[in-house]
């Protein structure tokens, strides 16, 4: 039971972070379908940091530097989305999809190159970080607390305050609702959209490193992040683009994702005798059902997905 709570919380943290990233980007008017790729690259940044830092690094600095690595990689990668979709007015769906594929391919090529350079026989795309991972964990009895659970909550509070209580956040949201109106009162729409995309890169990168630290202590970059970026988008839609509701939605989805990790610990579930694949499918099925019921009255930012062109009205 404790294990289920632990996994629910950590997967919910991942979903919350990434969904908040999507939230910032969409409120500024850019649909970020590339979150999945951003997660992979963010995870890569953090994992490289853990690989190269000596394991004697104090836990506090270890956490700080790993977060920094993930953020820098995530933000830099999201800039690819910004250039294409904001400056060159490219189709946001194509570019997002390309970023997802590019993220996995680039991470695989890079990690394999690093591994092969270190040892010519090693052609795997894995990075191990068993030692560095310990910095993130605190044991309370049998409950394994992961600092990311706290980080996710802090980032949630920050997102809420920034979006609703600051001039910047309100302006950002105006650009997603009616960019022409925002422009007419002197807000630079391009800058705001850039801010939205880069912030989503930051959140996405954090979510990525959190995801690979959730259960395992080595990561095979060929596998990507198994559709988590898209689950996060479902969480965001279910949360109606509002940070607090997103947090609740993330808990729900996190629970079903956690079930697939720990279902064999429950005699009741085992007695149902369902194949493991059923539990693996669960989060995706739930998100489809939830989307079917919540998308009709969607509160999506009105101008999302439409490139802003100063010349049009």
């Amino acid at each position: 039971m404790l294990l289920l709570i632990q996994y629910t919380l950590i997967f919910a943290s991942v979903l919350l972070l990434v969904a908040l990233g999507g939230c910032f980007s969409e409120h500024s008017g850019v649909i970020n379908l590339g979150l999945e790729g951003i997660m992979v690259i963010g995870a890569l940044g953090g994992a490289l940091m853990m690989r190269y830092l000596p394991s004697s690094t104090p836990a506090f600095f270890m956490i700080l530097l790993v977060l920094l690595g993930a953020i820098v990689f995530g933000v830099a990668y999201s800039a690819l989305l910004g250039v294409a979709c904001i400056n060159f007015k490219a189709d946001q769906t194509i570019v997002g999809t390309a970023l997802n594929m590019l993220g996995v391919a680039a991470a695989t090529v890079l990690v394999k190159a690093i591994n092969t350079a270190a040892n010519p026989d090693d052609v795997s795309s894995e990075i191990q970080y068993a030692g560095a991972k310990r910095a993130f964990l605190v044991n309370f009895g049998s409950f394994e607390f992961n600092w990311f659970m706290l980080i996710a909550v802090i980032m949630l509070v920050i997102a809420y305050v920034v979006l609703y209580k600051t001039r910047f956040g309100l302006r950002l949201m105006a650009c997603g609702e009616h960019p022409q109106a925002a422009d007419s009162v002197g807000i630079n729409v391009y800058k705001m959209r850039w801010a939205g995309v880069l912030i989503s890169g930051m959140y996405g990168g954090l979510g990525g490193i959190c995801y690979i630290l959730a259960g395992v202590s080595l990561w095979k970059f060929e596998n990507g992040v198994a559709g988590f970026g898209f689950l996060a988008l479902a969480v965001m839609i279910f949360g109606q683009w509002k940070p607090t509701r997103i947090a609740l939605a993330a808990l729900l989805f996190g629970f079903f994702r956690a079930l697939s990790n720990v279902y064999f610990g429950f005699p009741f579930l085992m007695s149902l005798n369902l194949p493991g694949s059923v539990y693996n499918m669960m989060p995706y099925i739930i998100s489809l059902v939830v989307l079917a019921f919540t998308s009709q009255n969607s509160r999506a930012p009105k101008a999302e997905g439409i490139p802003y062109d100063k010349g049009t009205r």
């Binding site: 379908l33 690819l80 294409a84 979709c85 060159f88 007015k89 490219a90 189709d91 769906t93 194509i94 570019v95 999809t97 390309a98 970023l99 594929m101 590019l102 996995v104 391919a105 680039a106 695989t108 090529v109 394999k112 190159a113 092969t116 350079a117 010519p120 052609v123 795309s125 060929e222 596998n223 990507g224 198994a226 559709g227 898209f230 988008l233 479902a234 839609i237 194949p275 694949s277 059923v278 693996n280 499918m281 995706y284 099925i285 998100s287 489809l288 989307l291 079917a292 019921f293 998308s295 009709q296 969607s298």
Partner: protein, 378 residues
């Protein structure tokens, strides 16, 4: 020359070539960063693919193998293209491809059907699977990209579960079609001897034929016109009396059937066996997106683009593994898709360039006329 450059098809071709060249160039730069010593050889190996073999019959055989995998890729690309013409982004092609493979293998191995019913069954299952996306889109307003991705994963796990009943007892792979269900192997119609490759079947000409049919449907029929109209403006189409909901569902059913047929086209040649422990969705559907856009969203262009994408994907296997990984070709094709996002901009820049030079010529002509006019007065 200007007229030639103004032609939309020519512009698409130039834009695609720019994407390919830039994609290869960036791939080369990445290789240089990893290890400058063998970068040129590696990128050449990727581009050469079967020409890496020196013997003619081996070249032909491996050319055949590339074609075998081009057929399903082309089907996935057509699926993406068809839906995109109707304003829908069918990222679910990957999952539809998977259920197509599942349906055809199940029908062949468990029920002993012969190849034609297997293909038809795969089509029906794929169409139904695509219809889920269409229903969710038209009645519940669910974004087709997100539901498509969810269905990709659901399809993968379901397929693993179902095909576990027809797998080899000692491995996670499904039974070899050749031994277990020879009646379901696609006929080769002499192509086998031509390429000296037993996997080259009618799937390849059938895929090309499908591309032509899709072209005709889209450009020459009422259905195609209605579907495209729905894609351009849903409300206008509705106002003009077209059933926009039906059109969306129908489109995704056709797209689903196409991608599923792609799955059947690969697995009924016995070129590959399905592994029931797969934990990631096969890349075929995603590469289909690359091929569709690289082909300028034209069915005929897509045939060549699919071949090119498959050519470099297979070619990736020839790089020197002690220095690089074969995923370098995935990297190149994903860079190409990213660059395809800029196609509109490239075309815009071309048109701007043409317009500017025309303007200059006009000015020159006007100045010349003014000059000669003055001359006349004197």
């Amino acid at each position: 020359m200007k007229k030639f450059l103004k032609n939309n098809a020519v512009q698409s071709l130039i834009a695609s070539l720019i994407c390919i060249i830039l994609g290869l160039l960036i791939g080369y730069i990445v290789l240089l960063f990893i290890n400058p010593a063998g970068a040129s050889e590696a990128i050449l190996a990727v581009v050469k693919n079967f020409w890496n073999y020196s013997r003619a019959n081996l070249q032909l055989k491996n050319f055949g193998s590339t074609l075998v995998k081009t057929a399903p890729l082309l089907m996935c690309a057509l699926s993406v293209l068809f839906a995109y013409k109707v304003g829908l982004f069918n990222i679910g092609a990957a999952g539809q491809y998977v259920v197509g493979a599942c349906a055809s293998l199940l029908a062949a191995l468990a029920w002993g059907w012969s190849w034609l019913p297997c293909l038809l069954f795969a089509m029906v299952v794929g169409a139904l699977y695509g219809a889920i996306v269409g229903l969710l889109k038209s009645f519940c307003n669910v974004n087709e990209v997100i539901s498509g991705i969810m269905l990709n994963w659901i399809g993968l796990y379901t397929t693993n579960m179902i095909l576990a009943s027809v797998k080899e007892s000692t491995s996670p792979y499904t039974l070899h079609l050749k031994n277990a269900a020879p009646q379901a192997m696609l006929p080769t119609l002499g192509l086998e001897e031509l390429f000296n490759n037993k996997n080259v079947t009618i799937a390849i000409p059938l895929a090309v034929l499908t591309a032509v049919i899709i072209l005709i449907i889209l450009d020459k029929t009422r259905l195609g016109y209605e579907l495209k109209a729905t894609g351009n403006n849903k409300n206008a189409a509705k106002y003009a009396g077209m059933a926009e909901r039906r059109n969306i569902i129908l489109t995704l059913m056709i797209a689903g059937a196409l991608a599923a047929l792609g799955g059947a086209f690969l697995y009924l040649t016995d070129f590959e066996q399905w592994s029931v422990t797969q934990s990631s969705v096969p890349g075929m559907g995603f590469n289909g997106i690359a091929a569709a856009f690289l082909g300028g969203l034209n069915p005929i262009g897509t045939i060549f683009a699919s071949y090119f994408i498959q050519h470099i994907t297979v070619g990736g296997a020839f790089v020197d593994k002690t220095m690089y990984s074969s995923q370098i070709s995935d990297l190149i094709s994903s860079i190409i898709i990213y660059l395809c996002g800029f196609v509109l901009f490239i075309k815009y820049a071309m048109n701007q360039g043409i317009a500017r030079s025309e303007e200059k010529q006009k000015q020159k002509a006007a100045a010349l006329a003014a000059d000669s006019g003055k001359g006349g007065e004197k």
